[in-house]
């Protein structure tokens, strides 16, 4: 698609990946982009690179802007993960940078990936500045947003933040700016990205947002390493990150379950009925037919979680164990929930689910409900009551 001028002297030179559908387990139904940026001033700097197979695209875009790629003076590596850093070795060989700016962990990480200790690394810390001519680059370390090596680069003269993974999303588009994309699709993808990538590091997101405030950074444009460039909805995306990283959620309950012989499924439907009758939004997800990436985006936005599993060989069904393990690692917080499930022998599933609730610091609104073999009409009434109870608690919590 060619390089795209973002501002005078600042260009997008990345690549659009229309065909990726599995990004280390994250389902990317709408593809993604690997964004790299070229700043042309008295000195020329390249911000991040691309996934290794897209190296030639990156180089073609660079040549389009400045001709000879060796004119690039500095390589600035905000994040080393291979979707941005995969092409670093080839890029270093092609552009022969005078200096490579990165954090300490960035240097150690690049040595870990490429085993080249003699590259011209310059370690930077929060507050360090690099003068490129008319423009300055200010570095701000953002450890664990997204990896230990992560940092962001701010260009005060242009009020522009190069934010690596923060504020990004997996969304391939033929245009580069937020106002040129479908707003609903865009925000779905942003929420999905936050839920599946950024959520564990919410306390660090709060710190980063505070640092932006304390340093009084005026931001007119955010250039992330994935997806669109924010110029119209800067306020909205920062507000969304603030809301998500404070674990604010909507008055909504998800009933997430799997079933062996339909008993747990009947219970799930009754729980769902109870929530709906209480007048709040509910969604039902059977894990054997649900996409975990999409479901995590729903978990992000919902205050209440009812988890159901049949007991299989004294444990959870593998689909439920798999999703709850994935979810636990993403550290959702401040949820309300309870567990349910049917069993035939000793019925441990509810106990295991309660442990997951404890580990995710979910407030357990009821000790859980187990049914042996198949639920009676009375059992289903009890499930409905528990659905109502959870809905009430969710309503109370969300109205505060």
């Amino acid at each position: 698609m060619g390089a795209v001028k973002i501002k005078d002297g600042f260009y997008w030179v990345g690549a659009v990946d229309w065909n990726v559908r599995d990004f280390h387990g994250y389902t990317t139904h709408r593809g993604t982009t690997y964004n790299a940026y070229l700043l042309v001033d008295e000195k020329i700097a390249l911000f991040d690179t691309v996934k290794e197979p897209f190296f030639e695209t990156l180089m073609a875009h660079i040549r389009e802007v400045i001709g000879d790629p060796e004119k690039i003076d500095y390589l600035i590596i905000n994040h080393i993960e291979p979707d941005h850093g995969g092409a670093i070795a080839k890029v270093v060989e092609a552009i022969k940078p005078d200096k490579i700016f990165c954090t300490r962990n960035g240097r150690l990480g690049m040595i870990g990936y490429f085993h080249q200790e003699d590259w011209p690394f310059v370690e930077v810390k929060t507050g360090d500045e690099l003068k490129l001519g008319r423009r300055t680059v200010k570095f701000i370390e953002t450890p664990m947003v997204h990896w230990p090596d992560s940092m962001v680069s701010y260009i005060p003269e242009d009020k522009l933040l190069v934010s690596q993974d923060a504020f990004g999303e997996h969304y391939a588009t033929s245009t580069r700016f937020d106002d040129e994309a479908d707003f609903c699709e865009l925000f779905q993808e942003v929420a999905k990205y936050y839920a599946n990538i950024v959520l564990p590091f919410s306390p660090q997101v709060q710190k980063t947002l505070k640092a932006i405030k304390d340093l009084k950074l005026e931001i007119e444009m955010i250039c992330p390493d994935h997806g669109v460039i924010w110029r119209k909805h800067v306020k909205e995306i920062i507000e969304a990150y603030d809301r998500w990283s404070r674990y604010e959620a909507n008055s909504k309950v998800l009933v997430i379950y799997d079933t062996m012989w339909n008993s747990t499924e009947k219970m799930a439907w009754a729980v769902y009925e109870g929530v709906v009758k209480e007048g709040i939004e509910a969604e039902l997800f059977k894990l054997s037919v649900s996409d975990e990436t999409e479901l995590m985006a729903e978990v992000l936005e919902a205050k209440g979680l009812a988890f159901g599993s049949s007991t299989l060989n004294n444990g959870l069904l593998p689909t439920v164990a798999g999703f709850t393990t994935y979810m636990k690692g993403l550290r959702p917080r401040q949820k309300l929930g309870f567990a349910f499930g049917s069993y035939g022998w000793s019925g441990e599933a509810v106990k295991h689910l309660n442990k997951i609730f404890e580990e995710t610091k979910t407030e357990i609104v009821h000790e859980g409900f187990r049914v042996k073999y198949a639920p009676t009409a009375e059992d289903l009434k009890k499930c409905e009551e528990l659905g109502r109870l959870l809905a009430q608690k969710v309503k109370e919590a969300c109205s505060v």
Binding site: M144, P148, P203
Partner: protein
């Protein structure tokens, strides 16, 4: 009481602040944290921490 830093992500455990989110109040010495305590930032094990010098 000594501060400890996570070798993985750089987080500093300050006993004066403790780790209230994981149930360890201000004033908890690093040594008093259980062995299965993990870095509140990146999840690394307690054994990944080193004393902060100076």
């Amino acid at each position: 009481m000594e501060k400890y830093q996570c070798n993985v992500c750089g987080y500093i455990y300050d006993p004066a602040q403790g780790d209230p989110d994981q149930g360890y109040p201000p004033g908890t010495a690093f040594e008093a944290l259980p062995n299965d305590w993990t870095c509140p930032v990146c999840g690394a094990a307690k054994s990944e921490f080193s004393p902060v010098k100076g």
